[in-house]
Amino acid sequence: MTLLAVDWLLIIEKLVLIAIIVFASLGIALYTTFAERKVAAVLQDRPGPNRAGPFGLLQPFADGLKLIMKEEIIPTSSNKALFVLGPGLAMTAALMTCSVIPWSSHIEIFDRKIDLQIADINIGILYIFGVVSMGVYGMMIGGWASNNKFSLMAALRGASQAISYELAMGLSLIAVLMLSGSLSLKTIVDGQMAAGSYWNIVYQPLGFIIFFVCALAECNRTPFDLPEAENELNFGYHQEYSSMKLGFYLFSEYINMIMSSAVMASLYFGGFDVPFLDESTLAPNIAALIGVAALLIKIAIFIFVFMWIRWTVPRFRYDQLMNLGWKTMIPLALFNMLVTGALILLKAGV
C-alpha cells in the first residue's frame, strides 16, 4: 500500500497547529468584539457592556448565543446556493491568511522540532495577496445573491474599494521586499531579528503608513467602511442576512483585523521579536513562548489603534475615498519605492 506515502507525524503536527491557530483566532476575535464595545464606551465616556459576568466578560458569549438563536431567513427572491456560500467564503478567506504568519520560532517536544508556522512557503507575501483578493468574493457574492439594490450597491462599492487599495498596498510592500530580499515572511522576520539590524519601520516609515491606511480600507474599517454606510445604504452588503450567517460576516471583519495586524507586525515591527532581548541565549521553548506573547501584544496594540480610529474619525465620502486611493496613496507608494531602491543602490555603492 503506497497510497499517500507521507510523513504522518508531520501531517498530525500540522493539523494540531492549524486547529490551535484557527480556534485561537476565533477566540481572540470573539473578545475583539468585546474590546471594540469597551473601547467605544471609554472613548464616549460611558460604562459599556457590564451585565453578563464580571465586568461584562461573558458578553461575547451572550452575543454569540443570541446570533445563533435568531431565526434563519433566506429571502425567497434570493439565489439560495450563493446566498449561503457568501458568508462561508468571507470567513474562509479571512482565516486562510493565518497559515503563512510566523507565530514564533520553533518549540521542541520529545526531540522533535516544531515550527510555529503552518507553512513557510517562499511566496508568503504573495499568498497573502491572493487570499486578500479572494476575500472580495464573499462580499460580492453575498451582496448580489441577496437580490437587494442596497446590498448590491454596497457589494460593488466594497469590491472596488478593495481593488483600489490593494494596488497601493502591493506597491508599498515592494519596498519591504527590496530591503529583505525575500517573499517569505519567516525570512523577513528573521532579517529584522538578526543582531545589529533594526525593525523595518525604521527604514520604511512612509511605507508603513501607506500599508496601514490600505489595511484599514481592506478590512472595511472606519473611515473606509463605505460598504456599511448606514445613512446611504441602510445596512450594507449583509442587509438581508440574519442569524449566524450575519454573524459570520461580522466575525470575518474582526478576523481580518487580527490577521492584518499580524501581517503588519511581521513586516514592519519585527514579528515575534522582543526588542533588546537576545532570544538565542534562552531555552528554545521559553524563547518561543515569549515570541508568541510579543506578537500577540503587538497585534493587540494594532487592534486598539484600529478601534481608536473607528471611534474618532468620521467616514469618507465615496469620491474622497477613491481620490485618496488613486491620487494620493499610489503616487506616494511609487515615490517610496523609488527612494528605497535608490538608497539601496547608493549603499551598495553601484
Binding site: 503506497t2 497510497l3 499517500l4 506515502a5 507521507v6 439565489n79 450563493l82 512557503i121 517562499n122 511566496i123 504573495l126 499568498y127 495577496f129 491572493g130 483578493s133 479572494m134 472580495v136 468574493y137 460580492m140 457574492i141 448580489w144 448590491l152 457589494a155 460593488l156 469590491a159 472596488s160 481593488i163 517573499l183
Partner: protein, 167 residues
C-alpha cells in the same frame, strides 16, 4: 498511487468539470464562479509542477482581479438566466463544430511539437518556476521584451484614463 498522482487526477477532474459547468450554466454569475474554480484547479497544477510564483500570480491576477471585473459587469448589467438571449440551434451547431476544430488544432500542435516529444513531466522537482530563477530569467535574458510589454501595459492604462475622462 502517490499523493502527487492523486492530487493530479483530483485537480484534473475538478478543472474539466468546472470548465464544462462554465459553458452549460444558464446564469452568467454561476459561469463566472465556475471559471474561478477552473483557475484554482490550474493553479493547483502549477504548484504540482513547483511553479509557485506562476500559481499565485494566476490566482491574484485572473481569479482575484479580472474575474471581479467580470462580476462587476454582469452585476451592473443585471444579466440573469431569463435575459440571456437564446441562440437558435444552427448557431449552436456551428459553435460546436468551430470549437471542435480548434480543439483538434491544439491537440495536433501538442502532439507534433518537437520540444514536447519524449519529455516526461517532472512533478514537484523543477527549479525554474521558483521566483528567484524566474526573476533572473526575466531581468537577464528577456529584459527587452519584458520592458516593452510593461510599456504596452502603461499605454493601455493611459488610454483607458483618456477614454474615461472624455465620457
Amino acid at each position: 498511487m502517490s499523493i502527487t498522482q492523486f492530487l493530479f487526477y483530483f485537480l484534473t477532474v475538478l478543472a474539466l468539470f468546472s470548465a464544462v459547468m462554465v459553458v452549460v450554466s444558464k446564469n452568467p454569475v454561476h459561469s463566472v464562479l465556475w471559471l474561478i474554480a477552473v483557475f484554482f484547479a490550474i493553479s493547483g497544477h502549477y504548484i504540482l509542477l513547483n511553479a509557485q510564483f506562476l500559481a499565485i500570480v494566476n490566482l491574484i491576477v485572473y481569479a482575484g482581479a479580472i474575474m471581479v471585473l467580470f462580476l462587476f459587469v454582469i452585476m451592473l448589467m443585471n444579466l440573469n438566466a431569463s435575459t440571456e438571449p437564446q441562440k437558435n440551434n444552427w448557431l449552436k451547431l456551428a459553435g460546436v463544430i468551430a470549437g471542435g476544430c480548434f480543439l483538434m488544432v491544439l491537440v495536433s500542435l501538442v502532439k507534433q511539437a518537437n520540444e514536447l516529444n519524449n519529455i516526461a513531466v517532472t512533478m514537484g522537482t523543477g527549479e525554474i518556476g521558483l521566483i528567484k530563477n524566474l526573476g533572473k530569467a526575466l531581468f537577464n535574458d528577456f529584459v527587452v521584451p519584458f520592458e516593452i510589454s510593461s510599456v504596452l501595459f502603461l499605454s493601455a492604462m493611459v488610454g483607458a484614463v483618456v477614454i474615461g475622462k472624455k465620457a
